[in-house]
Symmetry: C2
Subunit: 118 residues, 2 copies
DNA sequence: TTCGCTTATTCGAAAAAATCGAATAAGCGA
DNA sequence: TCGCTTATTCGATTTTTTCGAATAAGCGAA
């Protein structure tokens, strides 16, 4: 398997980060990782085919948004919070804050059926 | 000419805003408008063909990022700062802040030759 | 009104990117 | 080695982006 590419912190581009987060599936992944810390691909909780998920993770990884390392057969993903905060102070937290506030449908995939939100 | 569509403030989606700013040309336009207030298309200072510029402005307008109104033969564009701030408090300013900090090449097109930036 | 000029959108074809099923790779344990 | 699990890569289709050419629309002068 080819080695996965991660940009150096100083090479992370703002437009790449914004582009990576400018998709409902990828924003949901970022939110999930922010909450859970580190997760393998299969536990990201997004309803897309495996090949599409791989593509989304690549976009995020190459944008510098997340780090991925292998553990056995699994690929563990986590947000590069420190690197992002060094390069763009406060940005990621601000985005995750407003994302939490104004959740979009795709981000509520696992809400409890009993909790109505009339 | 068809009427230009602008989403209502409450219909603005975070992913649309991030996607709209996740392109070097569009981020440069947002920065320019943040600095100058309101500008017609021809004074946005981006080096792309007219038809491409029209497309970029449409993406931004339909994302809720900017407002466009006609004045004579010109279309005046301005950021929807109040609407965006109401929907996603602090987000736009945060993005413009870090964009200013870490300017990408396309954003420095008009820097003064005399002003060194060491 | 009609012509010429300016500003900007829309059309249409080509290039680039996203999607997703099928095939492949790679680790683990029996 | 075989079978199972996890995830990437391939390849074809769909969607989006790009940009020259055509169109639209306002303005001022003849």
């Amino acid at each position: 398997m080819r080695r996965l590419h991660h940009p150096n912190p100083e090479d992370i581009l703002l437009t790449d980060v914004l582009y990576a987060l400018g998709d409902p599936v990828r924003l949901a992944i970022a939110q999930r990782l922010a909450q859970k810390g580190a997760l393998p691909c299969c536990e990201l909780g997004v309803a897309v085919p495996k090949s599409t998920l791989s593509h989304h993770l690549r976009i995020m990884r190459e944008a510098g948004l997340l780090h991925c390392h292998k553990e056995g057969t699994q690929h563990i993903n986590s947000l590069r919070r420190a690197d992002l905060n060094a390069r763009f102070p406060g940005l990621l937290d601000q985005i995750l804050d407003v994302a939490m506030m104004a959740s979009q449908p795709v981000e509520r995939v696992e809400s409890q059926p009993g909790e109505a939100e009339h």
